[in-house]
Assembly symmetry: C2
Homo-oligomer: 421 residues x 2
């Protein structure tokens, strides 16, 4: 059988009288055999003098060959050098020579010719697909909300300022207020997967300045139902990856260990969470009501829980103005987090839907309700009870695939010091 | 049968001894009947004194009633006023009182309680779903590229500047360069649907400053194959809307007229396009090679074609540096547009994949290749031939649904003068 194949030169092994060139593309690798006596000198010379990562087109006959990586090899009759590569590569796509993360990110094109990073982004693509399918199955409408905004969701902190035709504007840090406005519209149940921007100064393996946020919001549900959705969501996405990404999991060495989290994620209250953290003895000073959960406490708790779990009923004081308090206790909010043992994944809650209480909440957090009038005024025209949550897509991937650094889950990350490529 | 229904008060008709309250939610409308003699005064009083758009929960018995809008009505036993609406609404969601676009956009929550605008965004959601499915069926991987960039795709024009930790940066106007870098990676064939930002001063029914771009890029294909993909894409999306959005098309009065464009979109060259425009006599001065196609020429051509059509082989001089020229004529590019009779939808082409020619192209357009080194240097490490295109999601919707203004296709549009909500 005659074929034409095109791809990148992965490797050349010249054994003297015989040489092998391994050509690689997205679908795999194929061996091209050069029995030098049998082929025109010019063809052999041209093919074997290219550098690795050059792009070739090879026409020839396919033969079965058990010793070849794919069980077949091609004996070439025609070779075209489509794009010659420089002899020096900034990164070795064959993976034989390691590279640090920074070099890999500077040269993502080459880095993503390696199987492992590519597998991560094939899985990311499937995660996004499954995420949207899950939301649609739950009757949600996909929305697109603006990324350029006049005011930040939670005030002036951590916002990137932009100049918008002479006016001050910002890149949005969350679709929170928009998705609430739409849960109160005729759409009622909505989701968005899109970029968010946070100008936080942290530069750690867990922080990004531009990330992908997975947002869900629905009218006529409460915090418990929003947690049900979050659990269904996580499990569905894991199921899809298990079903559709076996090759990629294999590549990442996760084929055996990957499991779909069991249904019934435990739900513990914030109060129980600080008690457990105190009992674990990982914090210098005993945590008391109103303290945020420090990283070491979260970590100890995660080890103890050893699965996805919710922390519910956070103190109202540590949650933003748009989270509703419990009806019978204004100190306790309906806010919840969903944590993976390694880190927080989701933040959500029932929303304050009562106009007066909302405006009070703004003031209590030192925000000017007038600056958010486009949002607050809609609460006067029939705002249903509603709840929802937001999840970092990269955190979902980092925890799912056990990645060391959140930058592994973004093709071209943006952080405190990285603005290019 | 006893039910509890919750929704918005759409209308109250009080006829004296009997009154009807129409409750509305996403799934439709239901009639609540108050035979005042039969019900507690307090309940009747409470229910009928609420203003339209208040949110109620109604528990009662369901009866068949042919004269009711849905064939059933509810006789209430319990009514809860969940959220009382103000008597004065800035917009009438029943649609009886019209509102101009600006008022509607200021009050999208209320506007999207109307059937027609909601139908547009239900269709938009389906268009995005079908778009991604089509790309996946074509073997493409979904990518996410940064919206904060150090340099614009096409230089410094029409960019919104942002301050990134003291450094100058911009909001990206197109994922062009990133998707090319990824077509050359192991992913090979990629798509992205995400926001783009253009600081153009135009304020017309056709321009947005923040839009959703649908981008496709693939290694080892040429301009003709990229056009095939664009045609398949458009037809698949129309098919999905026809199949899954009949109710919404009905609402928009399009159920009868909506058709899937026939396969085989005509492909005319730029040269033919200007000849036809000249013959149509719509331009003051005869167009000659190298002129861009003015709006009136595009319009005349659209009327003549009366279907989707490609314009191919644009002059190299009017296309950006990354578009490859024809091998046998450097004056002629491989760039193409896909037009709907009303407007341009898609811009695409085969890309320049040769390093030397690429750098020359930068210089010819007055751009500094050094500022784009993260991009150009990858062309030295085995850059395959590749092609692709970008499409405005809003333009796709505007032409598909025959909308007057592109702002009808965005929930919260951003334009020269609109930055909120």
């Amino acid at each position: 059988m005659s074929v034409t194949v095109a791809g990148w030169v992965h490797e050349i092994r010249d054994l003297g009288g015989i040489a092998f060139l391994i050509l690689r593309d997205r679908t795999g690798k194929i061996q091209i055999k050069f029995e030098k006596d049998e082929l025109p000198d010019e063809l052999v010379e041209r093919a074997l003098s290219v550098h690795r990562e050059s792009v070739l087109s090879v026409t020839g006959e396919v033969f079965e060959e058990d010793r070849a990586p794919t069980g077949v090899e091609v004996v070439p009759s025609e070779i075209e050098v489509i794009a010659a590569a420089d002899p020096e590569l900034p990164l070795d796509p064959s993976g034989k020579v390691g590279a640090d993360l920074s070099t890999r990110l500077d040269n993502r094109t080459l880095d993503l010719r390696r199987d492992e990073p590519r597998a991560i982004f094939e899985i990311r693509s499937e995660v996004l697909r499954a995420a949207r399918e899950t939301f649609r199955d739950l009757g949600s409408t996909e929305i697109t909300t603006p990324k350029i905004v006049a005011t930040g969701t939670e005030g002036g902190t951590e916002l990137f300022p932009i100049t918008y035709f002479g006016e001050e504007a910002f890149m949005n840090q969350s679709p929170q207020l928009f998705k609430q406005l739409l849960a109160a519209s005729g759409l009622e149940r909505v989701f968005e997967i899109g970029p968010i921007f946070r100008a936080e100064e942290h530069n750690t393996p867990r922080h990004l300045n531009e990330a992908t946020s997975i947002d869900f919001e629905s009218a006529f549900i409460d915090a418990d139902e929003a947690m049900d959705v979050a659990e269904t969501f996580v499990r569905s996405v894991y199921e899809a990856v298990q079903e559709n990404c076996q090759d990629e999991l294999e590549t990442l060495g996760l084929a055996d260990s990957f499991t779909v989290p069991e249904a019934g994620f435990p739900r513990i209250t914030y109060e129980e969470a600080i008690q457990r953290a105190n009992a674990a003895g990982v914090v210098d000073e005993q945590l008391t009501w109103g303290d945020d959960l420090p990283t070491e406490a979260e970590k100890a708790l995660g080890e103890e829980m050893d699965q996805h779990y919710f922390i519910t009923n956070w103190p109202a004081s540590v949650k933003p103005f748009y989270i509703k308090d419990e009806d019978d206790d204004p100190e306790v909010s309906t806010g919840f987090d969903l944590n993976h043992p390694r880190m927080e994944l989701v933040s959500g809650g029932q929303r304050e839907h009562r106009y007066e209480e909302l405006v009070e909440g703004f003031e209590a957090q030192g925000l000017d309700p007038a600056a958010f009038e486009y949002y607050t005024k809609m609460f006067k025209y029939g705002m249903p009870p509603h709840a929802g949550w937001g999840m970092g897509a990269e955190r979902l991937l980092v925890t799912m695939l056990d990645l060391d650094n959140i930058r592994e889950a973004v093709i071209f990350p943006r952080d405190r010091s990285r603005l290019s490529p």
